[in-house]
Symmetry: D2
Subunit: 484 residues, 4 copies
């Protein structure tokens, strides 16, 4: 058994005169993945140092009677300023992306450092650091996207990067510029095993999609709705099964990201019954959108083009059932924002010609928590503890940020979302604070809203606007995955 | 969404001068179902009122550097002084049983109030209260065993008792004096639905066991080993499926207790994939004993006779897989103690004549936590958080004791086990402090041991002996099940 | 390996002058469970003695160019003149029932000899022989319905009756007058094991149905539609699982009759994957009727009251999938005819008061083959070979009539249905020739029709009318089950 | 409904004087996939024209009282004179291979015409015709192995070849020179759909095997036993799942060949429960060999190197369970013979250096029927009807040879194996008559043996030697698959 803990260096027992707190949050209901308790939170030096019925004097206080005091959301699946190919511009960099995150109650995001083929992975990491430098409002780290697992990448760069705090890799089973062969997947998995890193898998079958899409295009079926037809659940299911089998051969756990429906869930649960460790993530688009949204009139369906595509009501029900039953460890946004009314976005010339060229992704980092809280907790499908685990604690554990992040616990960073469980809000573009010119959740009514976001004890978003300077957010090197 | 919390009536904000603590536990590592944190615990009036790097002055202090501060174990499945039929004497009453519980790091037990056929359920409850009065060292509550669901029981007694804090019923699908017909099960389930009570099911098929046992006896197979042969996994699987189906008809969740192996687990997981709410419990005997133990020489196998019987290595592996994967909500002892070398016990005249008459049950309330900690946490099969959830938090939530019990949280009762994670101990009868004259786990080596047990802030067991008077333990009325 | 065959006593090799045939069927397409072949069929002494491109001279000939020459249907699940309780009259005795069978292309039926509680099983068999004596148009045998498994029945009567040719027992898991306890089921199963008899199980849970029906009646829900609501698939699934488990304990194969939908199929397929031998039967009502039919206006729904009730479109699809995939061994009618407009039938006074009193069963012996041929073979869901196996060969094998019955093979009885595969027919009451005053399949359009039925070489139904005298049908003692 | 039949052109009804038979087989027990009947078989012009108790005069007679008259085996999976790469020589061409087939009771084989990359498929077919011309003792056809699905192959050659009677393609998911990408598989599947051809899939994952084999070689693990370690069941399971998914996308049935164990069976049965049409084949090596055989001392393990490799006892049991339960449609040999003590064979220099270079395949065409008969029918695991279906009838149906081949039926070719069900034989190399210098089944004792083999009415093997000239065997163009 390995205990992990973290304590301030100046800790002393039984001090007669406790140090004054910098900040106390008083009167709220603190929620963790285990507990719900009416208590105050005492903060000093950006960390939580006291929980209690009365935490004593503090330099400043926030009285939040009636609010929930939640661990700030950790969104472990966001894409910021990531290279998307010629002529396409991602709508969020680290500045707007992290403002949007904070607006949605998040205190930490984990975007991706993408290796382009032919590029050094270390160089890619440095490039993404440069993009983030001085821009972030919330804390951040990087997953590594491996697209070119050369001997140098496998043998030197990846092991060194894991040691430097990049302890998770993402691999793709599709996309022209990113797909890895099964052999390459196995080679990356072997490095993950040796270095104790966690692999995230985008599980859709490249060849299957190309085959389906070619067939649809040959029939003139080029509207956004055919994006979903080109990637049926079978395509995701096959890749999920394959990824699990390859991981079984190597002997590693994997994280299957953005699981969309029944078929992939069936594979994941089957694997677990065999005793394999398969983590899984799902996203708001699989709870409140369906393939029908891609079939909205004109080009509007493009607003919902993401991969895997939203499915149908039966798969929504399956995702809820799995969420409630503990089959998913994390709930992320897969925030991948593009502009809609923009030549570099969803309705550019190529995008209008075929669904294949529609920039693939939707924004969601600000909407993630309200959607899950409202549809999940308020509607009684999941508990408050599930909510905290799915949106914060499990992300921190799985991606090596725990115990610094992910909970409201003594010694942890004071990353907190003050949450009004009763506030009724209609989701609109204005509330998202992201770089996209739309939100796919426009008009969705939710109950529950993040009113104030604190990162390391500092209020970074409040009253509908950012209240700290870009650059408050810090880079977080990460340790090994701690399970969930 | 319903928030549940509990706060002392005299709570005030920002008191300049905090009230002095009655007790502080300093320097330990506090563990909850969500978190592990190095911090002090402040206790006042029997409740936890502060967690912090420094909780300030206290009347008394325990310094437990290096120890874990765990929520005291809740054992929601123990039998104490329960009527067993003529000539058989249960080895523990409330006094010795709760001393044994405290010796094993438990702070709360939930034994059963057994209705005998023809008896009023209310009368049964009163009788068990009388047995417990002034005897218990740790807190306790009662599940109701319904053996005679007359119209009066169904229509008046059960609804009234639920309102009085007896919010869980246990029903048996076997045993001459307790078995309910399917119709009776359905009728009890319907009351549970109406009253929002939780039903615990002993799932073994009565007729199947009689058929098997009759056949074995007819062949002269009467040794204790045939107890296991008379109750193969098929018998448990069938009853588990049946109980799930009946609960589905009524529309209630159920708790399947003492799940022993692969077959029953398969049914439970299958039901959940269909969207049914089925809780499940397992016990130490299904992790570290097998049917081979019942086949020990002479009458020694009788020491291991319990129902369902321990299975084989493959089922042990299945139980571990399910424990690690979250398939079980609770881990209990099913403490049901008899003496071995005693005419009223395991080797009485009738018991020697046939396995059918061997008093059915084994002691385990003191061994439960050390076994799961050592075999589970120390061997890396489950996490510390899993351990706490399985032994305390989930019991409290499922049986309506949360948030008063089950966690180390502000406002909760100061029910705590101070745990030495490194102590190596060989389990022996002497360490159990129970009324049985043996332990089925004799000789098992474990790592990790409860060194001190506190109930509502009072040390009740320490240094190998009880340190509070019988009667310190209080009766706990319980509310509705809160899921797990 | 055991070869089974049957040959006429006067067989000689290489006779220079073959004996003249009594009858030759020329120009048709002979179909067996394995083959489809254009050939003549030569018949002598009621048996098939030649198949060939030219079978040589014959006393009489039938030229059936363009027709299929099918093994006559064997309906192994029909109820004729069976006691139904006071005030209810079954609409078919052996005379009308076997005329209806012959009208539908059947040459053999296996009705039931029902033991009433308190009655000797041998006496029951004799009573049913008396009912059949001189009445039957097609051959027949009897399954035994065991309702009172006394020691005498289990120890003497059943073993003796199996030896006398009654090699299959039916047991009921529901119905007031017939339900067996699990223990009784096990005891009957044990006799089946000892005597190598096959047990047919009506798998619906008695207590569950009573509970559901009581609840519905208490709410005033008494219309025929509530018959289906009182017996949801869960009730059938639970009993199916239970029956399989009990059979597993004893170590016998079982036949689950009239499987209605998804849930029971799932259990059966699951059991087979475990290696258990579970045979299964389905019926036309589960292919072309649904629970909506029970909800027809007024009392008309009573016409469709049978058990298990027809389900929904999804279960119909599941039954077809299972039929095509080989999951069912037999397709029977469960012919259980009552009159509709009759005080002793579906709309008697008690029946009008509650669905519980509606005589439970529907006619179908004449409609079975046309429905499966049209919906199955003509629509391409199953092959001609599947059709023959499901309607004749497998019945003969499973119930010990093979090789005398069930195929078109040298040495077999000349039991033949001449079938026009192209004839389009609308099913109507007039075509059924049964004692009911309605058919639940009224108006169903089918393609394919039996034009002539021969039993042991004698044309018994042709041109829409019986062409042999009652009494042509003979009783068939049966041997052990031969699998399917 | 489509009826298929075949009749001689000179057929007339009621001829007063039937034409004399060329040959009659008298006194045997004829077995088909449906029936077992004691009768004579009349043969004229190479076809079966009469079955009867007495088929009348014949020019010649075989009296086989006591023998079974079985449809000659069809082995739809044999490799003859197939290109294997430089330095490796296959041990059987069409002459020795078909003598071995006849020795084992087979009357028809379907070897492969292999397209080499860069080669025209039509040219490949012609090359294999040249190899077979004048050499074959039994009838034969060709499956097409597609290794280079160029536009010309997909667009012109395959459609034309299907029309010419090559109605089945085999595709490989592994092997350097044959593996197709998923996209190529999909493209071939699409042609199969358009042309109504059946695709056979070798389902093992190429990249997975390379990864595993590289790892083993890197550790110096080069002995034959590591062939099995390099291809665990997971590798076959993944490819099986993938092949099924790709076929689902296109909407075609597939045939998964040489299924070796539990994991692949699980996938196939799962797919069928979803309603997909997946045919499956297994082989004797998965019934009577295990991976332990590859670990025999020295190089002897090389005698058992084939792919997928034999597994373990649990997988053998699973294959038997599936065979008995109808999960397999065909039982083939996958005859792929090499010499053992030969530089061009199993112990050549490269083969001695690493398991990867051991010629991959084992002989079995002569042993297939005796092994299944003895282990299956004689030991009571399957019926005689199963045996005939698995070894003859289903092959004919699935691969478009029915009704000409595959049964003993009027109009069918007189392809017959006269089988002594009681003869006890120890399998030895001498009995195999193949080109290999060993048999992997050496020493296996079987009960049941083919004593005489007739192809189109001509005795081609009898008394332990070929009795017809090479060239008696004819090429068979094939029609569309008829299901099984």
């Amino acid at each position: 058994m390995r205990l992990r803990h973290r304590r301030s260096p100046d800790h002393r027992h039984e001090s007669e005169k406790p140090m004054t707190l910098d900040l106390a949050i008083r009167g709220g209901t603190v929620v963790t993945a285990a507990d719900t308790m009416l208590c105050d939170v005492g903060i000093r030096d950006g960390r939580i140092v006291a929980l209690g019925e009365d935490v004593g004097p503090s330099a400043r206080s926030i009285d939040d009677a009636g609010l929930l005091v939640l661990p700030g959301g950790i969104d472990s699946h966001v894409h910021l300023d990531q290279f998307q190919g010629e002529g396409i511009v991602m709508a969020d960099g680290f500045r707007s992306g992290t403002v949007s995150a904070a607006a949605g109650g998040n205190t930490c995001v984990i975007p991706f450092a993408l290796q382009r083929r032919g590029e050094s992975l270390r160089a890619a990491v440095e490039a993404y650091h440069a993009k983030a430098q001085g821009e972030a409002l919330v804390d951040y780290s990087f997953h590594l996207i491996v697209t070119d697992p050369t001997p140098g990448v496998l043998g030197q760069e990846l092991p060194a990067l894991v040691k430097d705090g990049y302890s998770s890799f993402k691999v793709f089973m599709t996309y022209d510029d990113m797909v890895l062969s099964d052999r390459e997947l196995l080679d990356v998995f072997a490095v993950a095993k040796a270095e104790n890193a966690l692999v995230m898998v985008h599980a859709e079958g490249f060849d299957s999609i190309r085959f389906m899409a070619d067939g649809l295009e040959a029939e003139g079926k080029t509207a956004p709705a055919f994006h979903a037809a080109a990637r049926p659940e079978t395509v995701e299911r096959e890749a999920t099964h394959r990824a699990i089998a390859l991981a079984e051969l190597v002997g590693i756990p994997i994280m299957v990201v953005h699981v969309s429906g029944r078929d992939a869930i069936e594979q994941i649960e089957w694997a677990r019954r065999r005793g394999l460790t398969v983590h899984a993530e799902t996203c708001p688009q699989y709870l409140v959108l369906t393939a029908d949204d891609l079939d909205r009139p004109g080009t509007e369906g493009a607003k919902f083009v993401c991969s895997p595509p939203p499915r149908d009501a039966a798969s929504q029900a399956a995702v809820w059932r799995a969420l409630a039953g503990g089959a998913f460890q994390t709930f992320s946004s897969d925030h991948c924002p593009f502009r809609y009314d923009d030549p570099a976005g969803k309705t550019g010339p190529a995008a209008r010609a075929s669904f294949r060229a529609v920039p693939n992704g939707i924004p969601g980092v600000a909407a993630r928590l309200p959607i899950l809280f409202s549809e999940g907790v308020v509607k009684g499908r999941i508990t408050l503890q599930d909510f905290v685990a799915l949106t914060a604690t499990n992300h921190a554990r799985l991606y090596g940020l725990y115990p610094r992040k992910g909970s409201i616990a003594i010694g942890a960073d004071a990353d907190i979302a003050l949450w009004d469980p009763a506030r009724r809000v209609t989701l609109t573009q204005d509330l998202m604070h992201h770089g996209s010119d739309y939100t796919p959740y426009e008009g969705l009514e939710v109950t529950g809203w993040p009113v104030t976001t604190l990162v390391r004890g500092r209020v970074v978003f409040d009253g509908g606007r950012a209240t700290a300077e870009p650059g408050h957010g810090q880079f977080l090197p990460r340790g090994a995955s701690g399970g969930a």
